[in-house]
């Protein structure tokens, strides 16, 4: 009852892809030659950096990526065309990969950020890895993402506008973060820059396409942009943790990249023949916003869904 792939009794007919890899067909479906983005990276906390601040900073960057990845994954099976379904999933997967590295870094910098797990009083160590404890057992008030990441998807136009704004700001930030004195953050940034350059390119092209497509698409993408633009300023407002770590050469002050990001956005708007949006910015909650753990109504239902299975089985293995 052995079961093997059919013998190649028809020569070339059976392996049209053989030539792609010089006979090394393993390369494309079975390959193991990936880059571990953190291979050989020094994990020590850089001198002069407060580990607790570093952990908070990693949560800010990691939560942005995790929450937006989750939103984009909601498009899976619903995109306007198959090619777009695949593209949106690729962006979601890239961001999820960034989130995992950053949450793991947060936990290693300051283990006290990892929430204690319910039901672990039997003395056995928790089977839940730190990245998952942070993602699935942390309450909304402990999430540090910006509001732009948690806002609902809206239609495809609004989703494109959100990716454009998010990727433009994050790309500018990570480009500088590559020089961080924290070797892990620098490595994560170097990997992220390549990904975000692609995300921004995807979003910019689609933004211009929709803005210059039909009357309907122009109306929709303009409305979508106005919706997400309410969260523009928050992206460039520095939290004290960011300022402190920027001073130590570990983080980037987001205010420092605002000019660069806005210039890129202006290019896209000009190609779209659209004016710079003049929309009221979403106000803070008593001076607090996403970076402080204060959120919009959108986040807690998102987390309730995302965390439901993990929390139902706090001792589960997956």
């Amino acid at each position: 009852m052995s079961y093997e792939a059919p013998a190649s009794d028809h020569g070339d007919h059976d392996s049209p892809y053989e030539g792609l890899f010089g006979g090394d067909s393993d390369h494309w479906a079975f390959g193991t030659d990936f880059d571990d983005p953190l291979a050989g990276i020094e994990a020590a906390i850089p001198d002069g950096a407060d580990p607790r601040a570093l952990a908070q900073y990693c949560l800010m960057l990691g939560d942005d990526a995790l929450v937006l990845s989750h939103r984009l994954s909601q498009w899976c099976g619903r995109a306007p065309e198959l090619e777009l379904d695949i593209a949106l999933a690729n962006i979601a997967l890239d961001l999820l990969g960034q989130a995992r590295l950053l949450l793991a870094r947060a936990a290693s910098a300051d283990p006290s950020v990892v929430p204690p797990l319910p039901g672990s009083s039997d003395g056995l160590p928790s089977p839940v890895p730190a990245e998952d404890a942070l993602a699935f057992f942390r309450d909304d008030r402990a999430y540090r993402n910006a509001w732009l990441a948690e806002a609902p998807n809206g239609d495809f136009g609004q989703t494109v506008a959100r990716i454009l704004l998010f990727a433009t700001a994050r790309l500018a930030l990570l480009e500088r973060l590559r020089a961080s004195r924290d070797a892990v953050l620098a490595a994560v940034a170097a990997k992220g820059v390549r990904e975000l350059a692609y995300h921004r390119d995807f979003a910019a092209r689609w933004f211009v396409t929709l803005a210059q497509g039909t009357e309907e698409s122009r109306g929709r993408v303009t409305a979508g942009l106005a919706e997400v633009w309410r969260h523009h300023d928050e992206l460039f407002r520095a939290h004290p943790v960011e300022r402190e770590l920027a001073g130590a050469g570990v983080a980037v002050d987001p205010a420092d990249v605002a000019g660069e990001a806005d210039a890129a956005l202006a290019t896209v708007l000009a190609a779209s023949d659209l004016p710079w949006p003049r929309v009221p910015q979403a106000g803070q909650l008593g001076g607090r916003s996403g970076r402080d753990g204060a959120h919009t109504e959108a986040l807690s239902p998102l987390l309730a869904e995302m965390q439901s299975v993990a929390r139902a089985h706090p001792r589960g293995r997956w």
Binding site: M1, Y3, A5, P6, D9, H10, H13, D14, P16, Y17, W28, A29, F30, L66, H70, S73, Q74, C76, G77, R78, A79, P80, E81, L82, L84, D85, I86, A89, N90, A92, L93, L96, G97, R100, L103, P127, P129, D132, A135, F136, F156, G157, V208, T209, L210, Q212, G213, T214, E216, S217, R220, E305, M306, S308, V309, A310, H313, G316, R317, W318
Partner: protein, 359 residues
């Protein structure tokens, strides 16, 4: 193809003007053969074409898009490949439903990548179908109108996270049994799409089995969840191979044409034989009291699936038939303005480029 730098082999179907394909049946019109029969076959009478086609099949070579082929061969292929493509696309839903609830970040990444692959597989298969003159848009309309089928298995619900594992292990495992032989199907573009798909499917089956193995090492609740899931999916998985050969009237002709290479019953047996030891290694029971090793046949004997349930689901009376199609219709309708906008934008850009060329 004088003047073309791309070999015919490499550029199937749609890069060639439609009317260049003789005898091609497009829904609603038949291209008259006498207009543009390719040079090498111009002098050949239909009888010779038929003989040439049969000889190609007989020596195990592939039929390619510009070859002459009987209308019934083309129609059978379009029906089978389209059904296969639709299955990939509809099949995104049961598991896709769990992406936002995946219980670890690693599982979330795996599941999203897997469902994304299914979109890719649908795309490859629609492309193979397009080389036969049926566009993705036409096929999508037929699916949404309920005039073409997809695999019945996707009309069953995914009710727990264990189902993500079971679908990978049993449903994708059954699909692999069906699909590996199709890599050698007689129609070139279909076989090539299947090669790519099978390479990716092996990741799907392994992630499913690995998830179940991990859950079996977890809590008692998790083990119960796995067993309950296997109980629900076992029989529908066996039905994925189609009705017994005796009740499958088109099977014989498909095999003669080399479209199908194995009978339904043979593939079903192969699936059972591979799955039983995997279930043992996993520590779950397959819900068939009749399942036992037959030393004489060197195969497992197993019970008969409930074929009345199979035909009911096929008729549209499965648990999720209406829901699956409604989801697909909504996504297609919601995306119409985006598809139109991209075409309008491309039209404007092309005009602007043409204008610039004249300056």
């Amino acid at each position: 193809m004088p003047g073309k730098t791309v070999p015919e082999e490499a550029a199937p179907g749609k890069t060639v003007p439609e009317e260049a394909v003789p005898g091609k049946t497009v829904p609603g019109k038949t291209v008259p053969e006498e207009t543009t029969v390719p040079e090498e076959t111009q002098a050949a009478a239909p009888g010779d074409l038929q003989e040439h086609f049969e000889a190609t099949i007989a020596r195990g070579a592939r039929i390619e898009p510009r070859d002459w082929m009987p209308d019934a061969y083309r129609a059978t292929l379009v029906r089978q490949i389209a059904q296969h493509a639709h299955s990939e696309i509809i099949g995104m839903q049961p598991e896709g439903n769990w992406i936002t609830r995946a219980p670890s970040l690693r599982r979330k990444a795996i599941l999203l990548a897997k469902v994304q692959d299914e979109a890719g597989h649908g795309l490859y298969l629609y492309s193979a179908c397009e080389t036969l003159g049926a566009s993705r848009e036409e096929l999508t309309s037929l699916l949404l109108a309920g005039r073409q089928k997809y695999s019945s298995i996707f009309n069953y619900p995914a009710l727990s996270y264990a189902d993500v594992g079971t679908i990978g292990w049993l449903v994708d495992g059954a699909a692999i049994c069906n699909q590996v032989p199709l890599c050698r199907t007689s129609y070139g573009p279909y076989g090539r799409a299947m090669i790519r798909i099978c390479k990716e499917e092996s990741f799907h089956q392994r992630q499913g089995y690995e998830l179940l193995m991990t859950m079996m090492r977890g809590t008692g609740e998790q083990r119960a969840m796995v067993q309950e899931s296997v109980n629900r999916f076992w029989w529908p998985s066996l039905m994925m191979f189609g009705p017994p050969d005796a009740d499958s009237p088109n099977s014989a002709r498909s095999m003669a044409w080399g479209i199908k290479r194995n009978g339904n019953d043979e593939l079903r047996q192969r699936f059972v034989d591979m799955t039983v030891p995997q279930a043992e290694a996993l520590g779950v029971t397959l819900p068939d009291p009749g399942l036992r090793w037959n030393a004489e046949r060197e195969s497992y004997d197993f019970g008969e699936p409930d074929w009345s349930e199979f035909t009911a689901v096929l008729r549209g009376e499965g648990p999720c038939n209406a829901q699956r199609l409604a989801h697909r219709r909504r996504a297609h309708a919601d995306g119409a303005w985006v598809r139109e906008a991209a075409l309008a934008f491309a039209g404007k850009t092309a005009l602007a480029t043409a204008g610039a060329d004249h300056d």
